[in-house]
């Protein structure tokens, strides 16, 4: 890190510094370095402390039977059965649905704002997207359960009627029960993560070098060809980063999902229109009444979620690094 450089070592590189302020600056510099170092380390410390405290609280469930907890799906607290697999599955399913719905829309909005929209339209669209980002998640959840859930059940039935004869795909859309399901949770999450992915993607696309864009046009490229050839290779890493942040939010979202996912424990099914459960929502629903091993199991879900989030981030990091390398022709 740059923290190892002492101010005196840095000095020769900056001869243009006004000499009369030298003493003060050196003091300020040192203070800045210290503050920045503390801030940087505190992030690490907080992360480690969270991991330690939650793992400690969850320890009884891992000690009890880690295999049963991680690899079975039956969750019946009143009978002492704590299997997290169905919740892990549910969390991943709703997150994937959310990404599948949100990513194309977000990219579309971002490209529209940077490449297509006339300047007078740009600002209102940005404002609306930002507004969407600050709506509290519980509002989306309440909207989902009070407004969306009832009419969407009919829509699910229609989709199911059309698609269910098709093999494989048909299974995904078979047997809708009601409006509270994996898919409804996915829709709500998609709406919540669109603003995040959009605004980050927009920033990245905006930094695509103008001369490359001009060059693409100069070679006779259409707008789409220019975007594909000049904007996309430059932005790939940033877009993956934006999607990862969206995914992180989707996996951790609690209340909005708890309200619309249907809260059906122990369910692992390919049916996207079936009610299910996710890790954060089961924690939110059951923590208040839990005691003993049950409480450990719920905190254990938090630990599992933490680990999954870290793994997802590492994978995304690797993708970003590789795509940056490739776009530089290395």
């Amino acid at each position: 890190m740059t923290a190892v450089l002492t101010p005196s070592e840095v000095e020769p590189d900056r001869p243009e510094r006004p000499p009369e302020l030298g003493g003060k600056k050196r003091y300020a510099d040192r203070a800045f370095t210290t503050v920045a170092l503390i801030a940087g380390l505190s992030v690490l410390a907080i992360l480690v402390l969270i991991a330690y405290a939650t793992t400690k609280e969850a320890w009884p469930i891992f000690q009890n039977d880690a295999g049963e907890f991680l690899f079975t799906k039956r969750w019946a607290p009143n009978e002492g059965k704590f299997g997290a697999l169905a919740f892990i599955y549910g969390t991943l399913v709703v997150s994937v649905i959310a990404l599948v719905l949100a990513v194309p829309v977000s990219l579309g909005i971002a490209l529209f704002m940077t490449e297509v929209a006339p300047p007078w339209l740009k600002r209102p669209v940005v404002a609306v997207i930002d507004l969407l980002a600050v709506v509290p998640s519980v509002v989306f959840g309440l909207w989902g359960v009070l407004v969306l859930a009832e009419p969407i059940a009919g829509f699910y039935q229609d989709v199911s009627d059309v698609l269910s004869p098709i093999p494989i795909i048909g299974r995904l859309f078979a047997d809708p029960v009601n409006g509270r399901s994996f898919f409804t949770a996915g829709i709500i999450l998609a709406i919540m993560i669109v603003p995040i992915i959009t605004s980050l993607t927009r920033e990245v696309i905006d930094t695509a070098p103008v001369n490359e864009k001009e060059a693409a046009y100069g070679l006779g490229a259409t707008r789409w060809e220019m975007i594909r050839g000049a904007v996309m290779p430059h932005s790939k890493g940033g877009i993956v980063g934006a999607v990862t942040l969206g995914l992180g939010r989707a996996m951790g979202e609690t209340i909005a999902v708890a309200l619309v996912i249907g809260s059906a424990p122990s369910v692992i099914t390919a049916h996207l229109f079936a009610p299910g459960y996710s890790m954060p929502s089961v924690i939110a629903n059951e923590f208040g009444e839990s005691t003993g091993l049950w409480r450990s199991a719920l905190i254990g879900l938090g630990v599992v979620l933490f680990v999954i989030t870290i793994v997802v981030n590492l994978i995304a990091n690797a993708i970003v690094r590789r795509s940056i390398k490739r776009s530089r022709g290395l």
Binding site: N78, N178, A264, S266, G288
Partner: protein, 377 residues
């Protein structure tokens, strides 16, 4: 500006207190004299006032002030809110707070001593008991209704076995012979049944499933608990409101809801067959009747479900305020005791308007007598 006003009130309170103290001429009992010192110490923050609290017939002058906090059962939340409001009005300078969060949270908070009293629909389990002794004060009873939405059926009767079979999805349509047998002469539609239950861990679920275990032991297979493993083709709603909302939205839906929420959401509810074989409507009166016939343990714990008595509504449950028997902080202890005295006496009159059932006389007397066991440490 509120600060100056408060200070004024506090000063007035302290003066009044001094006068009362002088008038009493030092024949204070241990409890109220320690309350006096406590009040003087806390008067700068909370103010002070003198009130007469009637406890068990005898009227003693107890001075209370300061702050007491509670949390727990959402079943008694509406009652706590009303009672706190009335109590604070009658006792200027006191602040009582009650946060919901569920019975489990209340018990955990009390055990961790982050609150002064807990609201809970179930007693501590032996494994979770705090090290120091606690006292259970029943404060109210309430029926759990079997609420439903079924066009053309205004009056429904259900026996325990039928309820068990409906909620574990063995009965799937409203014209099932078992439902018809409970409702002679009623024309039932063939609408499919949608079962609505609580998604959050809940004392209501705990007591409802305990009732099914007790009243339909050979039929009900899902056992009891604040969260149980409901069949996958049921619907879950958050809180009583969430369940009420599913029922309002869905033709053919049925769920278990507190009477106050069922009335608030204008739902229809069934009459349930009690252990005497009579179909009884859930009302505050039939719930109080259930409380009258039950066996109460010496520590005032009991279960009001499936109570004997011809007029008793069988799915009646109870909720307690739990406090430590020895109060470490004398001023706070005096306030908690005074508030409990209010809940068990004048507070009971608030209950009927909120669709809760007041304690039956026998229980109310026992609980009031137990107040004397609260000691200041």
């Amino acid at each position: 500006m509120t600060i100056t006003k408060r200070r004024g009130a506090a000063l007035a309170g302290v003066l009044a207190l001094a006068l009362v103290g002088a008038a009493c001429g030092g024949d204070n009992s241990g409890g109220s004299s320690s309350a006096t010192t406590g009040a003087t110490a806390t008067s700068a923050s909370g103010g002070a006032a003198t009130t007469a609290v009637s406890g068990g017939g005898a009227t003693t002058t107890v001075k209370v002030s300061g702050t007491a906090q509670g949390s727990g059962s959402t079943f008694q939340l509406a009652f706590q809110q009303e009672a706190i409001d009335a109590f604070q009005k009658a006792n200027g300078g006191t602040t009582i707070t009650y946060g919901g969060g569920g019975s489990g949270k209340g018990r955990t908070d009390l055990k961790g001593k982050t609150v002064d009293f807990a609201g809970s629909d179930s007693p501590f389990s032996d494994a979770d008991k705090p090290a120091e002794p606690v006292l259970y004060f029943p404060v109210l009873l309430g029926p759990i209704t079997i609420s439903y939405k079924l066009s053309g059926v205004d009056q429904l009767q259900l026996s325990p076995d039928t309820i068990a079979n409906i909620f574990q999805r063995a009965i799937k349509t409203w014209d099932d012979p078992a439902i018809a047998a409970d409702n002679p002469g009623v024309k039932l539609p063939s609408t499919p049944i949608t079962v609505a239950h609580r998604s959050d861990g809940s004392g209501t679920t705990d007591n409802f499933t305990k009732y099914l275990v007790a009243a339909a032991p050979n039929t009900w297979t899902l056992k009891s608990g604040s969260t149980i493993e409901w069949p996958a083709d049921t619907q879950a709603g958050a809180g009583n409101q969430g369940v009420a909302q599913i029922i309002t939205q869905t033709e053919g839906a049925v769920g278990y809801i507190d009477l106050s929420d069922a009335v608030g959401s204008k739902l229809s509810y069934a009459n349930v067959k009690n252990s005497a074989g009579k179909y009884v409507e859930p009302t505050p009166d039939s719930a109080s009747a259930a409380g009258d016939g039950i066996k109460v343990n010496p520590d005032l714990t009991f279960a009001a479900i499936n109570a004997p008595g011809a007029d008793a509504y069988p799915i009646t449950y109870q909720t307690w305020v739990i406090v430590y028997a020895t109060q470490a902080d004398a001023a706070k202890g005096a306030l908690v005791k005074s508030y409990l005295t209010y809940l068990l006496n004048d507070g009971q009159e608030l209950l009927s308007d909120l669709d809760y059932a007041p304690l039956p006389k026998s229980l109310q007397e026992k609980a009031t007598a137990q107040l004397a066991q609260i000691k200041m440490g």
